[in-house]
Symmetry: C2
Subunit: 139 residues, 2 copies
DNA sequence: ACTGCACCCTGTAGCCACTACAGGGTCAAG
DNA sequence: CTTGACCCTGTAGTGGCTACAGGGTGCAGT
């Protein structure tokens, strides 16, 4: 209801004040009014918009994606195909990341499981990192 | 065998020349000899070391971890506990990332599945981003 | 000898999405 | 009228490269 300071807006949306100023600088949040003492003064619309931004960011959307989602969200009568496309693209990228990390996890797990302690000279982890897999003898 | 230029070292290890110079700048690769024309001149030991670095980086180890792994690898008579600890820590971090991304994937999948096209005003994706989950009505 | 051309050199700036100061100003309570 | 919590701007740092700009080197072909 009443206008909020940047600190209150930060608290209300779970954002840091520096981040809010950063979003303003890059044009993601509109510049708010200022008080007589030059403090930023926010209203309900800023809480909404920053909440949207924060939720999208928490879901891993890039700043550019968020920017586009905000623009699309403002055109209520248009088709949501573009929105779905952004989300689908992000979902696909997330799946690719999961797949890559899963491969890493398997590799790391194998390395660790094969190491039975002892000296560095016998350490499987170091051995794995030291030799090119392609030229390692099959034995 | 014969000394390599930076381009040849790059080719041999699948690294970019800029990255090799960067690794030298941050002290990860030792400064090589120079030719009369001030070209960097690399030997087999550089191929080994850069190969180690690249494999560790491909497994997602941070530069600082790689630095420590290189130091540990050089002390062949010491225990490999420290190595295993770095690897275990990295494995745990990788698992946390996978868990976080898996949650994201589920959320994104739910959002997309519930959206049946049409107008933005009815778009589930936009709705999800627009409202705070905690204050959304249960219906 | 000369001309291209591919490669090499240094140094700096940019990427992403913040985060952390430094050096100041404002405002309400005591 | 002072204290302390908040606010302001602007700049620099994070990780791990990547991309220039503006030059020099080396070798093949003519």
């Amino acid at each position: 209801m009443n206008p909020l300071t940047i600190g209150h807006l930060a608290h209300a949306t779970g954002t840091k004040t520096e981040t809010i100023r950063y979003y303003e600088k890059i044009g993601l949040l509109p510049r708010p009014r200022r008080t007589a003492g030059n403090y930023r003064s926010y209203g309900e619309e800023h809480v909404q918009r920053l909440g949207f931004i924060r939720r999208a960011r928490d879901l891993g959307f890039s700043i550019d994606d968020v920017r586009e989602l905000l623009t699309l969200a403002a055109h209520r009568e248009q088709s949501c195909d573009n929105v779905d496309e952004i989300a689908a693209r992000h979902l696909a990228a997330t799946e690719r990341k999961i797949a890559a990390l899963t491969r890493l996890r398997r590799e790391l797990g194998k390395m660790l499981a094969s190491c039975h302690g002892g000296e560095i000279s016998e350490c499987r982890v170091i051995q794995s990192l030291s030799q090119d897999q392609r030229s390692r003898p099959a034995a």
